[in-house]
């Protein structure tokens, strides 16, 4: 019953508060409601805005579908009779329904409808209006969202409205949230006692937002006097401000660290394949970036296949399927390259460099001819969009978190492969001493081919992950090739640990420098530091010692 009676009450209250008029009787407002909803279809934005405000004031939840349709872009005018309708995409025509009653109104082609346009200002107004209408919703999470939306408007009327809501609220979680919102507004109350109470209430809400709200309580006027007349309030406020500041410093540091690790994991993914082809085999592979690109385009193809042939419910899985697919595609291309070209060039680094660079240009142009020059859209599956907020103001996006975990998983998998399988053993044997390995019966040619294939396949897998954070275009590989070489050289050629340490330290240093030096200068500084470091330790962080280093 609550959700029906409360809006009426709110309407009454709001009408009194905002307009100073006698409240409209709830039952008698049917005509007003219909008129206001119809007004949403007016051409001018200001008329629509008035209609939205009227609907919020009327407080009738029946207006919710119409407002929702307007923000979602589903509200149309039927050209034939200028009737306002909600249209949902059907096959082949749009299905129409009445915005107020939801009654079906038949169907119409897209050409017979004109969309009612909303702009950002209207969308904000609708959010507020919807919040006011949904504050009495039976679902507590919706009530909570509504209360927070209302609290964004920092006005005394809002405070009065929220206190009324608080009285009726039974859910403890929602009560606490509303109390906090109320306290934020009360910080600018005229009574010192209320301000003090608000400060107490907020003593555990150490966010940037509260910090901003506290600023007027602690600042001094131009004549040296304080803006806040009450000394107790002032003292409490400055205490809270310093506590928030301390928290924010820590939080910024943690956020920087996360961003650094996230950039580091992107670098790690890009470089780990190269660590195998360049680090282990010693092939200067300029086509490494193109293997990443091939992986990204494989993800695109798998995505299109999912869109075309499989139901939408399993669409989110396309990325999982892309990973082995990209590994196979890029791996096979890698093996073909090694067998066809690179094996004739072992021991001739300059020729290898030129040949692989040529291959990279060929691969780019092939992809450009097949898929076209413009970017291809690879969408994030639903489970990778959005963010996770462990602390207010500290936003960690899911796609970054997934990539960090994925990069580490790839590294661990390679480590295990090299350490515990017979193939890994043969690979290490061949790289350490080729004639001896051959004498022991290891087919060194095929081990080379497989190793190059492994490195390329891993680059392809990296491409799948990188398609989630960047562009998928024929030039994709070029963006990563320099960074990859940087990581491998810095970390120490031939060492997987070196790659991990190199990628992470480059990522973190870059991200710590960026806020102070800017993105451009930050990148330059990192390069300068790297050059200085290489002067001191030419073999990188984790230099291999002994015979392997000489090979």
């Amino acid at each position: 019953m609550l959700h029906r009676s409360l809006p009426c009450f709110l309407a009454l209250f709001a009408a009194l508060a905002f307009l100073g008029l006698a409240a409209p009787a709830c039952a008698a407002s049917d005509a007003d409601l219909a008129a206001a909803v119809a007004k949403l279809g007016e051409p001018g934005f200001s008329e629509k805005l008035e209609a939205i405000e009227t609907l919020a004031t009327l407080g009738d939840t029946r207006a919710v579908p119409a407002l929702q349709a307007l923000t979602d872009g589903n509200l149309y005018l039927r050209d034939a009779d200028n009737l306002l309708v909600v249209a949902t995409e059907g096959d082949p025509d749009y299905r129409l329904s009445d915005p107020l009653t939801g009654a079906a109104l038949g169907s119409a082609g897209f050409a017979e409808l004109s969309r009612v346009i909303a702009n950002n200002r209207l969308r904000s107004a609708i959010h507020t209006a919807l919040a006011k209408l949904q504050i009495g919703d039976p679902d507590p999470t919706r009530r909570l969202a509504a209360a927070q939306e209302i609290a964004r408007d920092n006005a005394p009327e809002t405070a009065a409205l929220l206190s009324e809501v608080l009285e009726h609220e039974t859910n403890a979680g929602v009560r606490a949230a509303i109390a906090i919102s109320l306290a934020k507004i009360n910080l600018s109350s005229e009574l010192p006692a209320e301000r003090l109470a608000a400060l107490k209430k907020l003593s555990d809400t150490l966010t940037l937002e509260v910090r901003t709200l506290l600023a007027p309580l602690t600042s001094a006027n131009s004549d040296g006097s304080f803006a806040e007349p009450d000394p107790t309030v002032r003292k409490e406020a400055s205490l809270l401000v310093s506590r928030i500041d301390r928290r924010l410093v820590l939080q910024d540091l943690a956020l920087n660290l996360f961003q650094g690790i996230s950039l580091g994991s992107v670098l790690l993914l890009a470089a780990v394949g190269l660590a195998i082809t360049f680090g282990v085999m010693g092939v200067i592979n300029m086509a490494h970036g193109e293997m990443i690109m091939l992986g990204a385009y494989t993800a695109f193809c798998v995505q299109e296949a999912f869109r075309m042939w499989l139901p939408e419910s399993v669409f989110g899985l396309y990325l999982i399927v892309s990973i082995p697919a990209a590994f196979v595609v890029a791996g096979l291309v890698g093996i073909a390259l090694e067998r066809g070209i690179i094996r004739f060039l072992y021991g001739r680094p300059l020729e290898t460099l030129l040949a692989t660079w040529g291959i990279s240009l060929i691969l780019q142009q092939v992809v450009r001819s097949v898929f076209g020059a413009p970017n291809r859209e690879v969408s994030n599956p639903a489970w990778m969009t959005g963010a996770f907020e462990p602390l207010p103001g500290m936003v960690l996006t899911w796609n970054r978190i997934s990539i960090i975990l994925f990069a580490l998983a790839v590294l661990v998998a390679i480590g295990l492969l090299m350490r515990f399988t017979s193939y890994g053993l043969q690979m290490r044997a061949v790289t350490q001493n080729r004639p001896m390995a051959a004498a022991m019966g290891i087919p060194s040619g095929w081990v080379d081919a497989l190793t190059f294939g492994l490195g390329s396949g891993i680059a392809g897998v990296a491409g799948v992950a990188l398609s989630q954070v960047g562009n998928v275009s024929p030039n994709l590989g070029q963006t990563y090739i320099v960074d990859s070489f940087m990581v491998v050289v810095f970390g120490g050629v031939g060492s997987l640990w070196g790659v991990l340490a190199g990628a992470m330290s480059l990522g973190i240093v870059n991200k710590i420098l960026e806020p102070y030096a800017g993105a451009m200068l930050g990148k330059i500084l990192v390069l300068v530091l790297l050059i200085l470091f290489i002067q001191k330790r030419p073999r990188g962080l984790f230099a291999l010692r002994g015979r392997a280093a000489e090979a």
Partner: protein, 431 residues
């Protein structure tokens, strides 16, 4: 080469003096009129410029179907400068002195335009440049059919300042680090300061080409926006870097209703490669949108999609600029009765074309157009919904009044000024 070009110039001069009766330059001796198309068909800019090449080919095709120009067929000479700036200058020289084209339609980036400029001025060629740019230029040999800053950047900022646009008080000017964003942001900063915005309410940020890790910058924008004043981002971020930028915004939960982003380099063609759902409500400012509803635009879209044989292809602002430029050039040639550059230039001033944007577009004596300004919000279908537009066309300012040293300069190629960057007219009186 030098000898050859002098010879051609003399011939043209002779032709102009002798009038139409005599067969003057080599161009007139042939039975076709050649126009040059100078757009990158390979390399990084191929993404955007290939479409413009096709637009000109479509216009030429259409003109020939209608009987050509001055009784002759028009022939497009297409060259590929391959996104390589010095090659632009080389190819431009080739077009003018070897192929003797009557006009060239081309260039996209400002750096390519700056590279061909000396060639066009030396050989007295004619270039139609179709892209919005930073202004601060007016050459006798270039007609600028894209927007100057006062036809795109300034109105967009004014819109955001207005009540309708959200009464924005704090500004993030984010751009890619090269000449167009740097100049535009310089103008915008001066403009904002002149409107009473405080220095601490403006944040300027530059990123390298193709920047892909936007975490720090988006976090910084969020922090900057949390100061309790309505904040907007004015983006001159170029090309590829936009996708990860918008993705990061979406993932960090920044909606267009919280912090709107208005972009000057994102159009229908760029959106075709992006999943636009998280972008709904973000803005772009142009002089034309594909969603403009009028019969001229419908015809333009239909002509394009029929010519390119793909009903899904989109039209965009630079294409419309080429449409206007080509039509104006045809009209000017008809009016002058010759393709001679000096005669055509004189005929260009005041030339009027009904454009797909729904307005009569006029060429001014500063070699820039008067165009309407439109602000569109990105929709889920990759199109823009126009939420605001000027009452009529706005005249382009070649020199920004907000940069003190430019404010003194005038661009006017008619009497008494006859100059692109002068503080005083060339001719003082009739002596």
């Amino acid at each position: 080469m030098g000898f050859k070009s002098i010879g051609w110039r003399k011939l043209t001069l002779a032709g102009a003096v002798a009038g139409l009766a005599l067969a003057g330059g080599p161009a007139a001796a042939e039975d076709t009129i050649k126009v040059g198309v100078l757009h990158s068909l390979s390399g990084t800019m191929a993404i955007s410029e290939t479409t413009l090449k096709d637009t000109i080919l479509m216009m030429v095709d259409d003109l020939n179907k209608k009987g050509g120009l001055l009784g002759k067929k028009v022939e497009a000479v297409v060259v590929d400068p391959a996104s390589n700036w010095p090659l632009f200058a080389e190819k431009a020289r080739e077009l003018i002195s070897r192929d003797h084209v009557a006009a060239v339609f081309g260039c996209w980036t400002s750096v390519s335009r700056k590279s061909v400029l000396p060639v066009f001025e030396e050989l007295n060629g004619l270039l139609f440049y179709p892209v919005q740019y930073e202004g601060e230029e007016s050459s006798k040999n270039v007609f600028y059919t894209g927007a100057a800053p006062n036809q795109q950047a300034i109105p967009a900022v004014e819109y955001l300042m207005s009540k309708e646009g959200g009464s924005v008080k704090r500004w993030v000017l984010a751009g890619t680090d090269y000449v167009y964003p740097r100049t535009t942001n310089k103008i915008l900063e001066a403009f904002l300061l002149s409107k009473g915005v405080k220095k601490e309410d403006i944040m300027i940020n530059y990123t390298p080409f193709g920047h892909s890790d936007w975490q720090t910058i988006v976090a910084e924008i969020k922090r900057f926006a949390s100061a309790g004043k309505k904040t907007a981002v004015v983006s001159t971020i170029n090309g590829d870097a936009n996708v990860p930028f918008y993705k990061e915004l979406g993932n960090q939960g920044i909606k267009a209703t919280d912090i709107p982003v208005v972009a000057f380099s994102v159009g229908e063609e760029e959106l075709a490669g992006i999943d636009t759902k998280p972008l709904v409500g973000h803005l772009a400012a142009w002089n034309y949108f594909m969603s403009v509803n009028n019969p001229d635009n419908k015809a333009f879209i239909k002509q394009w999609q029929t010519y390119i044989k793909n009903p899904k292809r989109v039209t965009n602002d630079p294409m419309e600029a080429h449409y206007i430029g080509f039509k104006m050039w045809t009209q000017a040639v008809l009016q002058a009765g010759t393709t001679d550059v000096d005669a055509v230039r004189q005929a260009m001033y005041g030339q009027k074309v009904k454009s797909p944007s729904g307005y009569d577009i006029v060429m001014n004596t500063n070699h820039h157009l008067s165009k309407p300004v439109m602000i569109g919000e990105i929709q889920a279908n990759g199109q823009f919904e126009i939420v605001w537009q000027t009452k009529g066309p706005i005249k382009a300012q070649a020199w920004s009044p907000y940069i003190p040293e430019s404010a003194k300069l005038t661009a006017d190629w008619t009497f008494p000024w006859v100059c692109g960057n002068c503080t005083a007219p060339k001719y003082k009186s009739y002596q």
